[in-house]
Subunit: 334 residues, 2 copies
């Protein structure tokens, strides 16, 4: 382990992402990424009585699937790092309560997936663990109900709004084995530029992504062209444009190899998702489904994965607060 | 770093708790622990317009106070680990958004404080960080409003209920310096024994405390008498009794040196707090205020600190779910 610059840690032992799994909902199953996910649900309930219970089932089965695909015993998993968007992170804690694995609950809103991989990779790198689970989930219906309006009202959604992804993604990190490796982590600071529109999360989170990206470049001496792909999730169309513009102010042109999971998840014209996808599961499922396979097949050799989160709740918005953003980055090599 | 048994990690470099700080509300200021806290508030608002904003101010000022007392520059703090009980952990993220320190949001309900110290100590031990902040908060009024009933209703509270502590506790862990050291961490599993009464958190959490305590004893070969004090927080009177009884079933008598922060915080007869204190701030303030000083003065030389959390929300209770518990333990030596 090497501290690099102010904010980045180099992982000399290179924790390996030995397996991933992803399960998504029916709308995601109609999008351009559908073919990459392990399992697509036919409806939002998956046989459960409530959306919250369905979301718990989704993360539970995603974790079970990742363990099963990895071929290692669940008793060989030392720790689990997981979180989600529901109040008090009940999707993760109810979904994983029977896993019998020491559990760290984490919350970084939509940045949670990379936060979990950051913490997990420090545990692997340091020898504190041999195998860890990193997982997160979100669910369109439970999120709308909790953060916005009852779905039954059929409220209109403004053009800046994003569509919470239903699904769960899970990575297993290991001290040995085959797979892409995590080489650097750059945990992010909270950045609040005063955006108050809870229907424009992309604008609220883009400055945090920018802050972390600049810290990563400054710490490592790298530049955009050192990566085959720089991927954020989930800034959506609006936040993606803002991040590209912000980078230009510092002399970095990321437009050649940059994409966002919120943009990738849905078909903008056909699926009526306005500024794109969002939710903890957006980057989690697209990394676990799509980018992990690209790394395995060496179509992408160096990936910078940046997850962004909006650290607000509905009460804070009602009290007139702005929306603090955060972004965590990890560099992955195949 | 040494993995010990299935669940425990021995910290050979012994991260040092170089400083702590604690701020509490007016009710805590009337309790038996009042003299140990750095600052006691005169009212629940502290000049803010809402309880949520007050809670954010409390954690912000507690972190600032710990940094100020430590004499190190805030720019020398590498990472912050923090969380709270409010939906989406807004107390921490709003309170610490101006801190300019890379931030890991965590959620373990009332176990969050020891979760933050566990993660922080792994970062210090491994060389990923030189100094980290571990902080958490809770607020009686914001918690009642969110989890139970509007305070204005004046609802009766059942005898099994606990009183959420208003306050915040913060520890600074460092790779060098003077102070008590963290020698072991035993992160806990989620344990759900089927308790559904959200007004009896002690009963819901005691089995998790028992599970982690037994894991710690089995992994390390230690027994209760190896510690000067075993301290949970916050099982309250009912959960404390249950934990003692559960330990007896395995042949461990912890009654001689065991106490609970929920029991210690309030005067049971005078303060009408039924089963005792609770909330992320309960163990955080009593450790930061009382036990840290006991360790510094070597009145306690070996402390096992176990924080317990109930991983539910009001929706899960309304949907008939039971309450998963979790407990994380750290061993501290002066």
């Amino acid at each position: 382990m090497t501290r690099i610059g102010k904010q980045t840690i180099g992982l000399d032992n290179r924790p390996v992402i030995i397996q991933t799994a992803s399960i998504v909902g029916p709308k995601e199953a109609q999008g351009p990424m559908a073919g990459y996910f392990d399992h697509c649900l036919e409806d939002e309930f998956w046989g459960e009585k409530t959306w919250e219970k369905a979301e718990s089932k989704i993360i539970k089965e995603t974790v079970n699937l990742a363990i099963s695909k990895s071929g290692i015993s669940s008793s060989a998993i030392d720790f689990c790092f997981a979180g989600d968007l529901l109040n008090q992170c009940i999707s993760s804690s109810f979904g994983l309560r029977d896993a019998n694995i020491p559990f760290f609950g984490i919350f970084g809103a939509c940045s949670t997936f990379v936060e979990s991989m950051t913490l997990g990779s420090i545990f692997i790198e340091s020898g504190a663990a041999n195998n860890v689970i990193c997982a997160t989930s979100s669910h369109f219906c439970s999120a709308e109900k909790q953060f916005r309006f009852p779905l039954e009202l059929g409220n209109q959604r403004p053009p800046t709004s994003q569509w919470t992804v239903t699904g769960s993604g899970c990575s297993i990190l290991s001290s040995s084995g085959e797979g892409p490796c995590i080489t650097h982590v750059t945990p992010g600071k909270i950045v609040d530029m005063g955006i108050k529109d809870a229907n424009n999360m992309g604008a609220a989170m883009a400055p945090a992504a920018f802050d972390t990206l600049m810290a990563h470049f400054e710490d490592t001496g790298r530049k955009p062209s050192d990566y085959d792909a720089i991927v954020t999730g989930d800034l959506g169309y609006i936040g993606k444009d803002i991040l590209e513009d912000l980078c230009k102010t510092k002399g970095y042109n990321i437009s050649h190899n940059y994409d966002d999971c919120g943009v990738l998840m849905f078909d903008k014209l056909e699926q009526d998702t306005h500024s794109g996808g969002s939710g903890c599961a957006c980057i989690a499922t697209i990394f676990s489904g799509y980018f992990y396979k690209q790394l395995q097949e060496r179509k992408i050799k160096k990936l910078l994965l940046i997850a962004t989160g909006a650290l607000m709740n509905s009460t804070s918005s009602q009290q007139g607060e702005s929306i603090p953003g955060i972004a965590h980055a990890i560099a992955i090599e195949s």
